[in-house]
Assembly symmetry: C2
Homo-oligomer: 270 residues x 2
């Protein structure tokens, strides 16, 4: 197979298998090419991935040597893309009764969602994570987009137990904003003991939900390595029960009467 063909096949393979260790003999056998040719291919791909701002190939030498694709997402590109999302969100027609903001279409738009996933993937790329954990329902798309980049399993906490989950662990927690008591349930077999996890949710006000998720992770002896929220409400900052997190967006003002939404970049960009 010619170099040009190999480069197409290898680029596809790396994009389908991020964070996966691939031995050089695997490529040698697949393409019937010399190891030196494969090494040159890898150099070309690595240089191009770097130029595109989408990550690097990490090579390791020795008997167990090989290569891994570590995805990244360039900070300049991230700023440009988040500003496009901010513009979408500042549409006054998104304001719902009670000062809520309609965001479901954004989380349903695969193009935007993939970009959001890449940003969190870049933010958490050094964390050595075993699971991405979220809570039903709105956090699920976000968690999948991030897990697709970090290539670890998604674990979904539910609000109610379901028979198809098997035996579960549940906790009660106080919702930060409404002060209501709520429940979270997670299947016992979903997380192995002593795992490293990242918590993700679409929106954080006072942080009660995230706080509940942290408590539930304690029950599984899991270590919370990072917390990510797509958007936070700036005016709840003082009462917040969680302080170490990454946000991509900040809702600064939602004025229902005057039909005005003001959104800024989140703390990831500070």
């Amino acid at each position: 197979m010619r170099r040009s063909e190999r480069l197409v096949a290898m680029t596809d393979y790396f994009k389908e298998n991020p964070y996966t260790h691939i031995s050089l003999p695997f490529f040698v056998k697949w393409f019937g090419a010399a190891k030196s040719s494969i090494s040159e291919d890898l150099d070309i791909i690595d240089a191009m991935f770097e130029q595109l701002g989408i990550g690097r190939l990490q090579t390791s030498a020795g008997a167990a040597g090989g290569v891994r694709y570590i995805p990244d997402y360039d900070m300049e590109l991230s700023k440009e893309k988040i500003d496009e999302i901010i513009e979408l969100l500042e549409d006054p027609q998104r304001i719902l009764p009670g000062g809520y903001v309609y965001m479901s279409d954004l989380l349903g738009d695969l193009k935007q969602l993939r970009i959001i996933g890449k940003m969190f993937g870049a933010a958490f790329k050094a964390y050595d994570v075993d699971y991405v954990v979220t809570v039903a329902t709105k956090g699920i798309p976000l968690a999948y987009a991030v897990a697709d980049v970090l290539r670890v399993p998604v674990v979904i906490i539910r609000r109610d137990p379901k028979v198809t989950e098997g035996s579960t662990v549940s906790i009660n927690y106080v919702s930060g904003s409404s002060r209501k008591i709520q429940t979270m349930v997670l299947s016992k077999r979903s997380i192995k003991e002593n795992s490293n996890v990242i918590l993700l949710d679409d929106f954080m006000k006072a942080g009660g939900t995230i706080h509940g998720m942290v408590s539930l992770m304690n029950e599984f002896n899991a270590t919370v390595k990072g917390i990510g929220v797509l958007a936070e409400a700036e005016d709840d900052e003082e009462d917040r029960r969680v302080d170490d997190y990454i946000s991509l967006l900040k809702f600064q003002e939602v004025n229902e009467r005057e039909g005005r939404i003001q959104v800024a970049r989140g703390n990831y960009f500070e």
Copy 2:
């Protein structure tokens, strides 16, 4: 930029933007290369994608000419991969009290989930779809995996209305297996009138949930172009309320007492 570099960048671009029309001048400008060189690049990529069984580039001539990547997933490869999933599922430890089967880990495993998404993407690739529609909670990962391939928005039907959805349309329906009355709710602004949709769910027994989804789509004047379920229960075939659907897996037997699960390929492979 050299051909080898262009091929890496273009392969990445097509994989990030399936079903998206890209004009040749876009590539000409990006790479500072002649149109004839770009055309040769496209031929190389198209031939390699075909060989890999991951789809084709569709070129159109004329003033509005350009190229689109239509993903596919080879049937032989699909059979091989579904058999691997069947082997995972036939583990007796998955049997839950009541004869249910634990599948949450499969839907949380991005590698498997992406493959499942590619199979449905191939099954529905000729359908000209506007939305992929599912119902919370278990269907969500599946819907995202398919929408990622078809590159259309995901719409999530909920069991309960939520304030952040705005005004909603709801229907009541009778669950096929338990004969209980249940509710489905969908935000009014989630689907445009006269859209084409695909319905997806993780599991189908008597088909009550899918039947409910079809009724709800009628309220939005949407046309259901296709129905996909990851797994169906074979013993409920007679009572089934839905007959035109694609399944990837069939549960033939779940014997709780003897600890035996028997799973076969679904009707997609027939």
